[in-house]
């Protein structure tokens, strides 16, 4: 005679309680009801007040204003824009300007940040101190202070275009901004582009092939001479055959200003300078912490295996440091993008400045405009954090955790 194992009692009620009220059960559900009531009350107050206030100010709620004519000019546009375009176009112009200054800032910030980090890690005492002074000074001054410093003090102190400072005779710096040569496509442009694309694809294929050979047969193939030839030699030969791909239009001083070349407005220069130097100080600290986080035994183990110092760094230390560096580095990139909204203080036409500033004061549609502006930044940061959580998941998987 066997005794049937008793079935556990059905715990449906318990499970529902857990899902609805957390560990605290029915108490939790009561708390939630009270909380929802308070939230609902606040939402009701906000909506009813906003409706009454908008009615008093004779503002029609809704996004219909986006189709109206903006009627003001923007002094830096990546897409064609005139004063008779719509507010939606203004939104796009501002968004593109924000993205441009962010991308340029990120590139410069990364370069400067890595250089400063190398200085701080250098065995040379003096250079390490120089890096430290840079980081301490930049980190302890507000970013807005630095933007205004570059814009109101440094750039305003530059001479006017007639006495502008020439950089090797091709670019000119003055208080009206930076004038650089403008590339103009010539006859050989298409051929040049095609060959360049071919070179990049071929180099990538070569690299994959070399890695396969290394991992499967243990055969080392030196590929860098071929890559060099593909990336530089081939386009050079095409250039000789098909003619120059593009030529530069050099800026010329005519009267009181420059003709030709492309002008970069001083607001952009000031903002890029301030954003990249400021973020670079934070990036330098992140990179330094990342490299110091790799145990010194890793370096010793690499050299005991007979790897050279450079190879150990490249194959052992840097990959491990990157795992520590990348998440906070992305965070800094995000911060830089968000900080580019300080452009409004110096009048660089970014999203906040032209949309949440000028358009808001012209239309008075505060709720819609600020919600759209906040939405853009929120979307950027949510996408970034989603990408970073995928990255974190992959790293933890590759570590076998």
């Amino acid at each position: 005679m066997s005794i049937e194992a008793r079935k556990p009692p059905p715990q449906i009620a318990l499970k529902i309680r857990r899902v609805l009220g957390g560990k605290t059960g029915w108490n939790g559900i009561a708390v939630q009801f009270a909380f929802a009531a308070v939230l609902g009350w606040i939402a009701y107050e906000i909506v009813s007040n906003a409706r009454a206030n908008l009615e008093n100010q004779h503002i029609a709620a809704g996004f219909g204003f986006l189709a109206n004519n903006a009627g003001f000019d923007v002094n830096q546009t990546l897409i064609s824009y005139t004063g008779s375009d719509t507010f939606l176009r203004v939104f796009l112009v501002g968004l593109l300007n924000t993205l441009v200054v962010s991308v340029v800032g990120i590139v410069f910030a990364t370069v400067i940040g890595f250089i400063v980090a190398l200085c701080r890690l250098s065995p040379n005492w003096l250079l390490a101190r120089v890096g430290e002074i840079y980081v301490e000074i930049i980190r302890n001054l507000p970013l807005l202070f630095q933007i205004l410093f570059w814009y109101l003090a440094v750039l305003a102190a530059l001479p006017n275009p007639r006495q502008s400072i020439s950089l090797l005779g091709i670019a000119f710096v003055s208080n009206r901004g930076l004038v650089i040569p403008r590339p103009i496509g010539e006859s050989g442009f298409e051929a040049f582009l095609a060959v360049l694309a071919l070179g990049i694809v071929a180099s990538l294929a070569l690299r994959i092939h070399a890695r396969q050979a290394l991992f499967q047969r243990g055969q080392m193939i030196r590929i860098w001479p071929y890559v060099l030839g593909l990336l530089f030699g081939l386009p050079l030969i095409t250039m000789l055959v098909a003619g120059l791909p593009f030529s530069f239009e050099l800026p010329q001083l005519k009267g009181f200003n420059f003709a030709g070349g492309s002008r970069i407005i001083p607001e952009f220069v000031a903002l890029t300078l301030a954003l990249s130097t400021y973020t670079a100080a934070f990036i330098a600290e992140i990179v330094r912490a990342g490299i110091l986080s790799v145990h010194s035994g890793q370096m010793e183990a690499g050299s005991s295996l007979g790897l050279s110092r450079g190879t150990t760094l490249r194959l052992v230390v840097v990959p491990q440091a990157m795992r520590v560096i990348v998440p906070p580095l992305t965070n800094q990139y995000l911060n830089l993008t968000k900080n580019s909204s300080l452009a409004v203080a110096i009048g660089y036409p970014d999203l906040v400045s032209v949309f949440a500033g000028t358009s808001l004061s012209q239309t008075g549609q505060a709720i819609e405009i600020i919600a759209m502006t906040m939405g853009v930044y929120l979307l950027i940061s949510l996408i970034t954090s989603a990408v970073m959580s995928v990255y974190g998941w992959r790293v933890s998987r590759s570590l076998g955790a």
């Binding site: 899902v19 609805l20 009220g21 957390g22 560990k23 605290t24 939790g28 708390v31 939630q32 909380f35 939230l39 009350w41 009701y44 107050e45 906000i46 009813s48 007040n49 906003a50 009454a52 206030n53 908008l54 008093n56 065995p123 040379n124 005492w125 003096l126 250079l127 101190r129 120089v130 301490e136 000074i137 302890n140 001054l141 507000p142 970013l143 807005l144 202070f145 205004l148 410093f149 109101l152 003090a153 305003a156 102190a157 968000k338 909204s341 300080l342 409004v344 203080a345 906040v352 949440a356 808001l360 505060a366 709720i367 600020i370 502006t373 906040m374 930044y377 929120l378 940061s381 949510l382």
Partner: protein
């Protein structure tokens, strides 16, 4: 027995003196080991020295050697009058100093600002020195009493009632809003298709509102009686003292252990009464200075201290909410934190300036400074929440479980066991957030508040002082102030971190 000295392996004569080992400490040693030990290093040293030479020397020349120290207006700072290439124009700072510190705060009332600053230093310094005792009292004074006193000192004005009247006013406002919402639903129900449902819900809400009205009726009646008497503040104060002390006495354990709670409650109220009497709050207080006259360093400090004081409770509440198991509260906390962390502060300030007034009742205007403060508190609160959450995560589960095993409730476990340890863990992170808050206060100048940076920018446009070096001098001065504050805070955070990790060092 053979003599040991005769054996062949023992040396018979003294060794010659060897040269002293190469010095690796001190300045010479430093030069030898870390500056000039290899050709690359020599090159790097030269590069570093050149960098310093071309930055430090010109800055020093600008700030000290080439500077103009006295003068009445811009003519003193022009190169043709001074006779040399002029560096910093310090008379400009001397002339603008009151504006940079007080803004347009009336000159006769500036002692109030100074007194507030002295008070804050007196309260803050003992709080920062770990060795000094009675941190609880000190923190209570700084975080609760000081902001109130500072408000009445800086802004001025008096009070018309006290705790009882305020509670009655607040409850009445809340009740009116509930009844209003119910009536709005009822009137909506006349036209809508879901009429019966709306009618029921609306009537329930109105019923609840009416019930609350009768519940708080004794309170409002008492308030109206008090307003009728001549000494409304003091009568209200006496009643509030009696009620709060009684509650403290009962909650503190009645006759058995309530004595202590009673004494501390009465002591607190005596202190409050002294402050009210001293500042004359019961009959008007100090003359009111509107916040649009405030400016300079005063606004910077007011915004940052208010941000610090208000963001911490918000952060703690959000962090606890994010760790809660109750779904709605957790979801709300996560959404709230991620929203504020995802947007730049400047859009938050735009939100507070342009959108917040739309959300409030039309007859209810909020001061521009207060609006900015609300925005900054919410923004910083979200960042502090993440810091506090880090600390909560670092506390082992066993701590909470042990407390629960001793029979402590969730509130007691959190406030007595978990939070004190968690907060102590994250003091360095909190201070770092305060540093960024302090730096971020400069953004209020974009929404038309004149903080230190805003006042500085305004002073550039004064034609009396416009000279080529004015802007550089102004930035040098403001930069030094910002640097002193931020660098001081970061050193303090390092000091605390060092102390906290004392047990890990060997």
């Amino acid at each position: 027995m053979s003599d040991i000295t005769s054996s062949s392996f023992v040396r018979q004569d003294l060794l010659g003196e060897r040269p002293a080992p190469v010095k690796t400490t001190g300045f010479i040693g430093l030069m030898r080991t870390r500056l000039f030990n290899s050709p690359t290093n020599i090159l790097l040293t030269i590069v570093g020295a050149l960098l310093l030479w071309f930055t430090i020397i010109p800055s020093l020349r600008f700030l000290m050697i080439d500077a103009v120290w006295t003068g009445k207006d811009r003519t003193a700072c022009l190169a043709e009058n001074a006779g040399f290439a002029v560096g910093a124009c310090w008379p400009y700072i001397q002339a603008k100093l009151p504006q940079l510190i007080y803004g347009f705060y009336p000159e006769a009332e500036r002692w109030r600002v100074n007194l507030t600053l002295v008070l804050s230093v007196v309260l803050l310094v003992p709080l920062l020195i770990p060795r000094l005792p009675s941190k609880g009292l000190n923190a209570g004074l700084f975080f609760f009493a000081f902001p109130v006193v500072a408000f009445f000192l800086l802004h001025g004005g008096g009070i018309k009632g006290f705790g009882l009247s305020w509670t009655a006013d607040l409850l009445q406002l809340f009740d009116d809003s509930i009844i209003g919402a119910g009536q709005a639903l009822l009137s909506l129900g006349k036209t809508s298709s879901a009429a019966p449902l709306l009618w029921v819900v609306g009537n329930v809400i109105v019923l609840v509102g009416t019930a609350i009205y009768w519940l708080i009726f004794p309170l409002t009646w008492l308030r109206d009686q008090l307003q009728g008497t001549g000494q409304s503040v003091w009568a209200d104060f006496a009643i509030t003292t009696a009620i709060v002390s009684l509650i403290a006495f009962v909650l503190g354990g009645g006759l058995r252990t309530g004595g202590r709670a009673l004494t501390s409650s009465i002591a607190t109220f005596v202190a409050i009464a002294t402050v009210i009497k001293l500042m004359g709050l019961d009959h008007g207080g100090l003359p009111i200075v509107q916040t649009n006259l405030w400016g300079g360093l005063l606004v910077t400090l007011v915004v940052s201290v208010t941000g610090i004081v208000t963001s911490l409770p918000i952060g703690i509440a959000l962090a606890l909410g994010r760790r809660s198991t109750i779904p709605l509260i957790r979801i709300f906390s996560i959404a709230f934190i991620e929203f504020w962390r995802g947007v730049p502060l400047i859009t938050v300030l735009f939100f507070a300036t342009y959108m917040l007034p739309l959300f409030l009742p039309g007859n209810f205007t909020v001061d521009g400074l207060v609006r900015a403060l609300i925005g900054i508190s919410l923004f910083t609160g979200a960042y502090q929440a993440e810091n506090v959450r880090g600390g909560l995560a670092a506390i082992p589960r066993g701590q909470g479980e042990a407390a629960a095993a001793l029979g402590l409730s969730w509130w007691k476990t959190t406030s007595l066991i978990v939070l004190p340890q968690a907060l102590r863990h994250v003091i360095p992170n909190l201070v770092n957030s305060f540093i960024s808050l302090f730096k971020d206060t400069s953004l209020v100048s974009i929404v038309a508040l004149f903080d230190l940076l805003g006042s500085l920018r305004a002073s550039f446009s004064d034609p009396k002082w416009s000279s080529p070096s004015t802007a550089f001098t102004g930035f040098a001065f403001a930069g030094i102030i910002y640097f002193i504050f931020c660098f001081g805070m970061s050193r303090y955070s390092l000091f605390v971190e060092h102390r906290l990790n004392a047990h890990r060092r060997n």
